[in-house]
């Protein structure tokens, strides 16, 4: 019995450590005192400030637009890439997959710095499009990795049967292959979406002046010290995250994509 309760205390302690900072932020977002120590009184002031801040609203909009567009485009490129990859010989497949995985394991700083060099080298203006292209670039490999296992488990005779029955390659794609790998596509799209929304380091390098996403904005706000608007913002983002987690959990339960995954 003693062992069991020791185990429980350890787990409770871990959960406490993991969640305490988040709830600490949320708690002080209602502090009228303006600091993250000493609770003076309850206020909605910081939330009102957020909702009146049009600049912040535009930044949130930028972030969402970048996330949706990059997730969509990277999903399209990634899905077709994965389909083509599958039909290659083992060796070529391994080589391409190794290249595919470079951006997944690369530290963000390397991705950011090397993309900054790339854009400067070809004379591409930094701003919305450089950020969008970068987000597409680092999302493609994760889409491929989410889609490829589904393609691998699809029996080749399925495609052969469709062809024997007179389907052309467009029909094979839209009526057989894509429906089969839909769970993988959704998982890939969702991961790309969250990667993009959460990214800070890569965006920080390639954003130039004038264009900002939420992560970069939070960084520059946090560097100036404590401002409870950030706390209010984090409460809202935490609620959005919870909703996203629930949707993802529901989708993955339903589609049988195994396990849960991470943001970068």
């Amino acid at each position: 019995m003693g062992k069991k309760s020791a185990a429980n205390i350890f787990l409770i302690f871990m959960f406490f450590i993991l969640y305490a900072p988040i709830f600490y932020l949320i708690f002080y977002s209602f502090n009228s005192g303006g600091t993250m120590s000493g609770f003076d009184g309850f206020t909605w002031e910081w939330y009102e400030e957020i909702f009146q801040d049009t600049r912040l609203f535009i930044i949130v909009l930028n972030t969402v637009v970048i996330a949706l567009l990059s997730a969509l485009i990277s999903t399209i490129i990634g899905v077709f890439g994965a389909i083509a990859l599958r039909s290659l010989k083992q060796r070529q497949q391994q080589t391409l997959l190794a290249l595919n995985n470079v951006l997944i394991v690369s530290p963000d700083v390397i991705i950011g710095a090397s993309f900054l060099i790339l854009f400067t080298f070809i004379g591409f203006q930094l701003g919305f499009y450089s950020v969008l292209l970068s987000h597409i670039a680092f999302s493609i490999p994760i889409v491929v990795l989410m889609v490829l296992p589904k393609l691998m488990e699809m029996s080749p005779s399925l495609v052969d049967a469709a062809k024997d029955l007179g389907a052309n390659s467009w029909e094979v794609l839209t009526k057989v292959v894509l429906p089969y790998i839909t769970p993988g596509i959704f998982a890939g799209f969702f991961m790309a979406l969250t990667y993009s929304m959460d990214d800070f380091a890569v965006t920080f390098f390639v954003t130039g002046n004038g264009f900002t996403t939420l992560s970069v904005e939070i960084y520059s706000m946090a560097r100036q010290g404590i401002s409870l608007t950030i706390n209010a913002l984090s409460t809202i983002l935490f609620l959005v995250t919870i909703v996203l987690v629930l949707i993802y959990y529901y989708l993955s339960q339903r589609s049988g994509v195994k396990g849960v995954n991470f943001r970068k």
């Binding site: 993250m36 984090s234 987690v245």
Partner: protein
């Protein structure tokens, strides 16, 4: 699949690999041979081996090592105990939720908690130790990094433990192995792959966390990542920044070779 369609499908993907995987790395290597005035030189590499940069690289590796070891020490028992709970998938999900909260917000929370009048100091005051300077120390940097990475370490280890065949454990018990022997000879070797993936997803990013060193460590800790950011965005010495990046890439491949590539959480 017919070759024509395959080529068509392949074009954007191969284009992406050439433009955003091969070209950037090639350009980093290319830029590492230029000094701040744009003259061709190998001086950057010479500079990297001067004490200033070597010390920085070694301390960066040392911090990454500390962060990895501490995360592992906290994550392994957690993952093990999680597999023993009822509704383990739900508990696992709850462990992972904090990893979905924006990293900068978590770092920002610690600016408050470790601040002069923050919760940590209030606690130290109550238990009689008295307030201490916590923020802008290497302790806070390691603590916050470990905090951020723990879920990433727990997931692969949890999956490895979860895939362990329970009859193996019964067999060791029947054959008279003690709990420690069972752990050392059966459980640990069979979950080593999970541990390796965990090390990989913690160690490599730990080398490059420049935002944490800026926000939490107040520039008292310089990681390779901080140095790269500094050279690219502050001093504009892209050549030296690229040289450091080349070494970081080499380090990355070495670690990959040691631990083998596995997908995050696989």
């Amino acid at each position: 699949m017919e070759n024509k369609t395959r080529t068509l499908y392949m074009i954007p993907y191969i284009g992406w690999i050439i433009l955003f995987v091969v070209a950037p790395i090639a350009l980093v290597v290319y830029y590492s041979f230029f000094d701040i005035h744009g003259n061709f030189t190998v001086g950057n590499y010479g500079k990297f081996f001067t004490p200033v940069y070597l010390k920085m690289a070694i301390s960066s590796f040392w911090y990454a090592f500390l962060i990895t070891i501490i995360s592992l020490a906290a994550a392994y028992p957690t993952a093990y105990l999680l597999t023993k709970t009822k509704h383990k998938q739900l508990w696992l999900l709850l462990i992972i939720v904090p990893s979905w909260v924006n990293l900068l917000l978590k770092a920002y929370a610690f600016i408050g908690i470790f601040g002069a009048h923050g919760a940590a100091n209030q606690f130290l005051d109550i238990i009689g130790i008295g307030t201490k300077q916590l923020l802008f120390t290497d302790f806070s940097f390691v603590f916050v990094s470990v905090y951020i990475f723990i879920p990433f370490m727990i997931l692969p280890i949890f999956n490895a433990l979860d895939n362990l065949n329970p009859s193996l454990l019964d067999a060791t018990k029947d054959l008279g192995a003690s709990k420690w022997t069972t752990f050392r000879r059966v459980i640990l070797p069979l979950t080593l792959n999970g541990v390796k993936s965990g090390i990989q997803v913690v160690f490599i990013p730990s080398l490059s966390l420049f935002m944490l060193t800026r926000l939490i460590a107040g520039n008292r800790v310089i990681t390779l990542g901080t140095a790269i950011e500094q050279h690219f965005l502050v001093t504009q010495d892209w050549g030296m920044g690229s040289t450091i990046a080349v070494f970081l890439i080499i380090a990355m491949f070495l670690i990959m070779a040691l631990t083998g590539f596995r997908r995050r959480g696989a």
